[in-house]
């Protein structure tokens, strides 16, 4: 019988971490642990929060971190104050949008136009959030908590969570997600500040290399996460249709058009297979 008490104490520790993070009622978690005992197998080892932090620090957090080092350096070039540059990562948490923001300010583009460009570049966050939330929602979660949870949605978090969370017991996902996402966000925010301070020391070819991390890592992470025909079709269609739709509907709505048309085609291809 030795494993049983061990597992229960582990469950209690898990509740404690998640509760202290999210201020949720302990009763709910105990009930979920009860289901856990009778139903799906609990995973051994450290708590989901710690596993999330660990998985992030193995690689993804550093990749995002270094790409935001490039963003911090760009913010300094543009003349943004240090604190505002660091805050841009905490608040926006979307490297391409941050690059558009600072690039637009540097180019002297009218601010309302920059706002529109930032918004159009971030449309991806809508379908990403919609597909993440059902995995993270818990009974009794307030709207404010859900908005807070959704704020962490970003490409790295989305790709990795989609890869790992579906096979995870539902009661472990929330803690894992918060651990993973917070580790990424904290590393990235720190690196933004470091990039800002090092800006003068970063030669142009290295600055190019840092900003290149975003498309390079997105590409490889997406390929790594694409296990089904639907995913693979979506990647090929997205890459192929984007330039076509830039020509057809212009650089403002091309992403939206590509997503809707290509995504629907990929979904139909995936359905045909099933």
């Amino acid at each position: 019988m030795p494993p049983a008490p061990l597992r229960i104490s582990h469950g209690a520790a898990r509740c404690f971490v998640v509760n202290s993070l999210m201020d949720e009622r302990a009763n709910g978690d105990e009930r979920r642990d009860g289901e856990d005992a009778s139903g799906s197998a609990p995973s051994p080892g450290p708590s989901p929060v710690l596993r999330g932090i660990r998985d992030a620090l193995v690689l993804p957090a550093w990749i995002v971190g270094f790409s935001l080092l490039g963003v911090g350096s760009l913010a300094q070039d543009v003349g943004f104050p240090f604190l505002a540059a660091v805050l841009s990562t905490l608040l926006m948490w979307a490297a391409p949008a941050q690059v558009i923001l600072f690039g637009g300010i540097a180019g002297g583009t009218a601010l309302p136009l920059v706002a529109v460009a930032v918004s159009l570049s971030s449309i991806r966050l809508l379908p990403m959030t919609v597909s993440m939330m059902p995995m993270l929602r818990r009974p009794g979660q307030s709207l404010l908590t859900q908005l807070f949870v959704a704020h962490y949605v970003a490409v790295t978090v989305w790709v990795e969570s989609n890869r790992r969370m579906p096979t995870m017991p539902p009661q472990e996902r929330f803690g894992y997600y918060l651990g993973f996402a917070n580790a990424c966000l904290m590393v990235a925010t720190t690196m933004t500040g470091i990039g800002f301070l090092l800006s003068a020391a970063v030669p142009p070819f290295l600055a190019a290399g840092l900003l290149f991390l975003t498309p390079l890592f997105f590409t490889i992470a997406l390929i790594a996460g694409a296990r089904t025909l639907l995913d693979q079709s979506a990647l090929v269609l997205g890459a192929a249709l984007a330039p076509l739709f830039t020509l057809l509907v212009g650089p403002d709505f091309d992403l939206l058009a590509t997503g809707l048309v290509g995504g629907t085609l990929a979904w139909l291809i995936g359905r045909g297979r099933r």
Partner: protein, 118 residues
């Protein structure tokens, strides 16, 4: 400058950050929370939404490579695409190692850009 302008000037970057940076991108996450209410993770609509998201991400990558902003614009087009292709190739050759692919792609881009500047 009026007193009002002197007071507001140091806060200007923060206002820009909130109004031009934060709100225009955060609105999509907030909308996502509202839209996803009551949806089951295994429902067909979520499968479709995930397909749209994946397609959009591939499109974002394509746009970043074709029309980059900031320092990346200085890297030649051939370097940007060549480096991504090498990165993908090395990822598969190194038995699906993401880090190997990323390092290989970075080395290609940085060295070509270095010689393009030199």
């Amino acid at each position: 400058m009026t007193t009002w302008e002197i007071t507001i000037a140091p806060l200007w970057p923060y206002l820009v950050l909130i109004l031009v940076g934060f709100l225009p991108s955060e609105i999509w996450r907030a909308l996502g929370v509202v839209v996803s209410r009551g949806l089951d993770e295994r429902s067909e609509i979520i499968v479709w939404v995930r397909a749209v998201a994946t397609t959009l991400l591939a499109a974002v990558v394509m746009k970043l490579l074709l029309t980059p902003t900031g320092a990346l614009a200085a890297a030649p087009l051939i370097a940007r695409f060549g480096a991504v292709l090498v990165g993908i190739g090395v990822y598969f050759l190194a038995r699906r190692s993401v880090i190997a692919g990323v390092i290989a792609g970075e080395l290609i881009l940085i060295s070509i850009t270095y010689f393009a500047f030199a």
